[in-house]
């Protein structure tokens, strides 16, 4: 039997890149889909609003674990074998898109109608209004919650361990099984999550204070 030493610890540390890879994919993928969702939601079309509301409510109402199982097992129905990384990336992307979409939608809606109106009156096109007037203000408003949600994604990647994807939680499990020292294994895992999340949480708080101070400036 092995004892918990530096090789075991390093094994967990190396798995961190998979936690981060998954996080980056989910954040970028979910971010792109989230932007599209947020824009569709503030569009005038009633159909678009209905469709996006349905999508967001379904996803937000679904436990992430269930979504993950669906993404992992559904392809096998049509005879496809998919990698745990792919399934986890898809599930986390879909999940993030619904939440980021909601965060950004509310930021866009928080910009006073008078700002759209002034831009309209200056003959800016809707795209340029969004690009130069609305988005810069909305991004500033949404930044604290966006960074906050990024921390959520990091923690959510731990669920991928259940379908056998080796990120740090799964790595901790493996080390724990091999060494029978679950406490050391999972304390290491916890320390790594903390090391990654803590700076981001602080950043989010700082951004929030800055926004609260009211400056809309960049």
């Amino acid at each position: 039997m092995r004892t918990f030493g530096s090789p075991e610890f390093l094994f967990i540390v190396y798995a961190l890149r998979w936690t981060l890879t998954l996080t980056v994919i989910a954040f970028i993928g979910g971010g792109i889909m989230g932007i599209v969702l947020a824009l569709l939601r503030i569009a005038r079309s009633r159909v678009l609003r209905a469709v996006t509301t349905f999508y967001m409510q379904v996803i937000q109402g679904l436990p992430l674990l269930v979504l993950l199982f669906l993404c992992y097992y559904a392809p096998s129905l049509v005879g496809l074998e998919i990698a745990a990384l792919t399934a986890a990336a898809v599930a986390l992307t879909i999940n993030s898109s619904a939440f980021l979409g909601a965060i950004w939608e509310s930021a866009l809606r928080a910009i006073p109608k008078a700002q759209w109106e002034s831009a309209d009156a200056l003959a800016l096109t809707p795209y340029k209004t969004l690009r130069f007037v609305i988005a810069p203000q909305a991004i500033r408003l949404a930044l604290p919650s966006t960074v906050g949600f990024l921390v959520q994604i990091i923690k959510q990647t731990s669920l991928a361990s259940i379908i056998g994807f080796i990120e740090i939680t799964r790595a901790g499990q493996l080390v724990s099984n091999a060494t029978f020292e679950p406490l050391k294994a999972f304390l290491s895992v916890a320390a790594l999550y903390f090391a990654v999340c803590f700076p981001l949480t602080q950043l989010s708080l700082w951004l929030e204070r800055r926004t609260a101070r009211g400056g809309a400036r960049t």
Binding site: A114, E117, D120, L122, T125, F132, R140, G215, A216, T218
Partner: protein, 243 residues
């Protein structure tokens, strides 16, 4: 040449009929004041002139452009019509100078250099030549409103609309904004202003219009309009405004 032609404008918000057939022509270089009790439809009428409100019936032609519901056509009209709002509505994330440069660069395609010079010129015109780099929240209400005027001027509009631009200001800041408008009048700018400043309307406007219940109730050259109002309603209104 007529810069603004509005014929028989009707406008309702749901069941509320706000404009019940308003017709108005403004010639180039004219300054026209719109007065009346709150709720009489003055702002709504003004906003119809640059398409911020759609009309239910009637015809509008401004600066040679017919009012259109087509976005591209509407933008052509808006390039030539400036509007200044009661609450300034500057873009808070941009400096005074950037606020002014935005539309000339993005709408007219001016180079940044040309737009910067133009913005500087417009800021100087409103007496804020030294505040180019100030953000709106560093400026007083009166200064913000002057930047908003400069922002409209930078598009070199053929007509400027003012929607109660001093109503949100403390009395001591009202004067500086009115002085800017007065200097524009002297320079021959065509302007249509909704205002509560009777003395200003009388002094600066060539013509004053009294709106009541969604129609033009009385109008005339400002001097006579204020010294010898004809209808009892206008007489009562002017008494209440002075008293």
């Amino acid at each position: 040449m007529s810069v603004v032609v509005a014929k028989n404008i009707h406008k309702s918000f749901g069941a509320l009929q706000v404009l019940k057939g308003v017709s108005l022509t403004v010639e180039g270089g004219e300054v026209v004041a719109l007065i009346g009790r709150s709720g009489s439809g003055k702002s709504t009428f003004l906003r119809c002139l640059n398409g911020l409100e759609t009309i239910d019936a009637g015809e509008i032609e401004v600066a040679g452009h017919r009012m259109s519901s087509k976005p591209a056509e509407l933008r052509k009209l808006r390039r030539d019509v400036g509007i200044v709002f009661q609450s300034y509505n500057l873009f808070p994330h941009l400096t005074a100078g950037e606020n002014i440069m935005l539309a000339p660069v993005q709408v007219k395609g001016l180079s940044r250099k040309a737009a910067r010079d133009e913005a500087q010129r417009c800021l100087s015109l409103v007496g804020l030549g030294d505040r180019f780099d100030a953000y709106p929240d560093m400026l007083s209400g009166g200064q913000q409103q002057r930047v908003a005027i400069a922002r409209s001027l930078a598009m070199q509009p053929q007509v400027l609309l003012f929607d109660e631009v001093t109503s949100a200001l403390d009395p001591e800041l009202t004067g500086e904004v009115l002085a800017v408008i007065e200097s524009l009048a002297r320079d021959g700018m065509t302007m249509l202003l909704v205002t509560h400043e009777m003395g200003f309307a009388r002094r600066v406007a060539n013509r004053t219009i009294f709106m009541k219940d969604g129609v033009i109730h009385e109008e005339g050259p400002s001097a006579e309009f204020f010294s010898a109002p004809k209808t009892p309603e206008l007489q009562a209104f002017l008494r209440s405004e002075v008293g």
